[in-house]
């Protein structure tokens, strides 16, 4: 009996010690690890994300962020299938995905303006978009943001499909343009024109964003995550927007942070810095991250007329501003 009492006392003492341990210092909750498909290779254009990580904004929200530089469509599929909670994707991808019943929603419009443009070298007789009639225009694909941007611009100027010789050139627009194989090319306004400028070439540029408002890149989320873990979505958006705000206020500092993430930045520093400066302009807006319903309607209409979308989708489910701070 005495022996049994002794055991009881030892166990009781151990239990009390353990309880004391918990009450004295509550352990830090384990951060939620999130793998984020970026849709492109490591690049200065992801500066707000790198800034948000380096300044600890994600850590403050209990999130450990892992960058996954996989293709955009793969990211959308992974989010749609519930494998991952979030990804970076453009609005047109969300519309296409929803048309195929993927439950994805844009919760932050990172780009406030659509960054696609058409460029032509000076001296080609192309001074206005209407001058593109009868010319050969190089385009990366006949789907995706470039094509949607082209269709929107052409439509604004009354250019029909047969008015222009559209040639799919992949992502070799500059080589084709400078070699004279095409008269103009559909490009990303924050990238190829910067390279042309760096190469000392004079060119004319027609910005899609000056003609019509379309949706571009943003953060997409799985619908189930938004229903079951809305706080995680809010925390994720909050952390990103802080990184975005800091990048807009201090591009120089953001560029320095990019050095840790983008390999070979030193070799091409001037061009990369110019790309970041050009891209920043497309992120600015009255309310950072806010989705514009009209831009979504415009994008959907362009996609319908381009026959990328067979039937209209319920746009109210394609985006929401509910998770913005």
């Amino acid at each position: 009996m005495k022996k049994e009492m002794l055991w009881l006392a030892v166990l009781l003492a151990m239990g009390l010690t353990a309880c004391g341990g918990i009450s004295e210092s509550s352990p830090t909750p384990k951060p939620t690890t999130i793998r984020l498909p970026m849709g492109f290779v490591a690049d200065v254009q992801f500066a707000p994300w790198y800034v948000a990580v380096e300044k600890g904004y994600f850590a403050e929200e209990g999130i450990e962020l892992e960058f996954d530089y996989s293709w955009e469509t793969d990211g959308v599929r992974l989010v749609g299938s519930g494998e991952l909670p979030f990804a970076i994707a453009s609005g047109d991808q969300v519309i296409l995905a929803r048309a195929q019943e993927l439950p994805v929603t844009t919760i932050t419009s990172w780009f406030q303006r659509f960054p696609v443009s058409v460029v032509a070298l000076e001296g080609n007789g192309i001074e206005e978009p209407i001058d593109l009639a009868g010319q050969k225009v190089g385009i990366p694909e006949t789907f995706g943001a470039s094509y949607i941007g082209w269709r929107a611009l052409a439509s604004e100027y009354g250019l029909e499909e047969d008015d222009v010789e559209l040639e799919v050139v992949g992502y070799t627009q500059l080589a084709n343009l400078t070699e004279g194989r095409v008269d103009a090319a559909v490009v990303y306004a924050n990238n190829e024109p910067v390279q042309l400028k760096q190469a000392g070439r004079d060119f004319v540029q027609f910005l899609v964003a000056e003609e019509v408002s379309l949706v571009s890149n943003g953060i997409i989320a799985n619908e189930t995550v938004l229903e079951e873990r809305p706080e995680l979505a809010r925390a994720f958006v909050r952390a990103f927007l802080k990184g975005l705000q800091d990048t807009l206020e201090d591009p120089e500092g953001a560029f320095e942070i990019c050095r840790q993430y983008v390999e070979g930045l030193e070799e091409n520093e001037d061009a990369q810095r110019a790309v970041l400066d050009a891209t920043i302009d497309y992120w600015r807006g009255e309310q950072l991250g806010e989705s514009d319903p009209q831009a979504w309607r415009n994008t959907s209409e362009v996609m319908r007329s381009a026959e990328l979308l067979q039937e209209s989708i319920d746009l109210e489910k394609a985006f929401t501003n509910e998770f913005l701070p």
Partner: protein, 252 residues
């Protein structure tokens, strides 16, 4: 039709039916949405719509043109060079390191460069196909030509055969089995080459269909594209195998 032939067809139908049933079973039991794993029915319906509109045939024609062009060019250059390497140790020592090194470069890395250098049309795709079929045919040509026995060469020389007679009457027949083996591998690889070329820049072809399916989240279209490529590769392989049987009848 012989009984043996009928039983072979029966086995093929049976294995296809089991495969389709298993596929349907996985889709039904797993409850997968179409964008992850479409049912056989969804794929057949997509195939039907592409066949009815004539779109599939249009795309197949484009890819076939690229494959045949690449196969012809790759075979021509590889056979000529293979013959030279088989006979000239100096040429082999000079060129072999570069040829082997070229095989360590993935075609997907070269394809965008070919598009920049030769444009986005048929030529760049034909060149991608030619590059991919080049090596197996070259290696088999070298092996085939070198497999001709010294005794037979000596015999031809004794009979005072000319250079051309030596080639047509001895080396070509002797090297043909190995060469056709290389061509069988090359024919299937050429399909991959065409798709790689179309992935870089195209607005037509089966590779384009695949890309379109991926971009538009149209997974049944991706399945149709993959199935079409498999059938094309099988037909090309079968054609070379048939040619092999016809050309090598003398061996029986």
């Amino acid at each position: 039709m012989s009984r043996r032939h009928l039983s072979r067809i029966g086995l093929a139908v049976l294995s296809l039916s089991v495969f389709l049933l298993l596929w349907q079973g996985v889709v039904s039991l797993g409850g997968y949405p179409t964008f992850i794993l479409p049912s056989p029915r969804a794929v057949v319906e997509r195939l039907g719509s592409l066949l009815m509109s004539g779109a599939l045939w249009r795309h197949v024609q484009v890819t076939l043109k690229e494959i045949l062009g690449g196969l012809a060019l790759g075979t021509f250059v590889a056979t000529l060079l293979g013959y030279l390497l088989a006979h000239s140790p100096v040429a082999e020592r000079l060129l072999a390191p570069y040829i082997v090194a070229s095989q360590s470069v993935p075609t997907v890395a070269i394809a965008p460069l070919l598009v920049i250098w030769f444009g986005t049309g048929l030529l760049s795709k034909v060149l991608v196909c030619a590059l991919i079929v080049f090596f197996p045919i070259l290696v088999n040509t070298v092996v085939g030509v070198r497999s001709v026995s010294r005794d037979l060469r000596d015999l031809m020389r004794t009979l005072q055969a000319s250079r051309w007679q030596m080639i047509w009457m001895l080396e070509v027949p002797a090297a043909l089995p190995t060469l056709l083996g290389g061509l069988k591998v090359g024919a299937t690889l050429a399909v991959i080459g065409a798709v790689v070329g179309e992935f870089v820049a195209s607005d037509r072809g089966v590779g384009y269909l695949l890309k379109q399916g991926q971009q538009l989240y149209d997974t049944p279209l991706v399945f149709v594209g993959i199935g079409t490529l498999v059938v094309m590769a099988q037909i090309l392989y079968g054609t070379v195998a048939l040619a092999e049987r016809l050309l090598l009848r003398w061996q029986d």
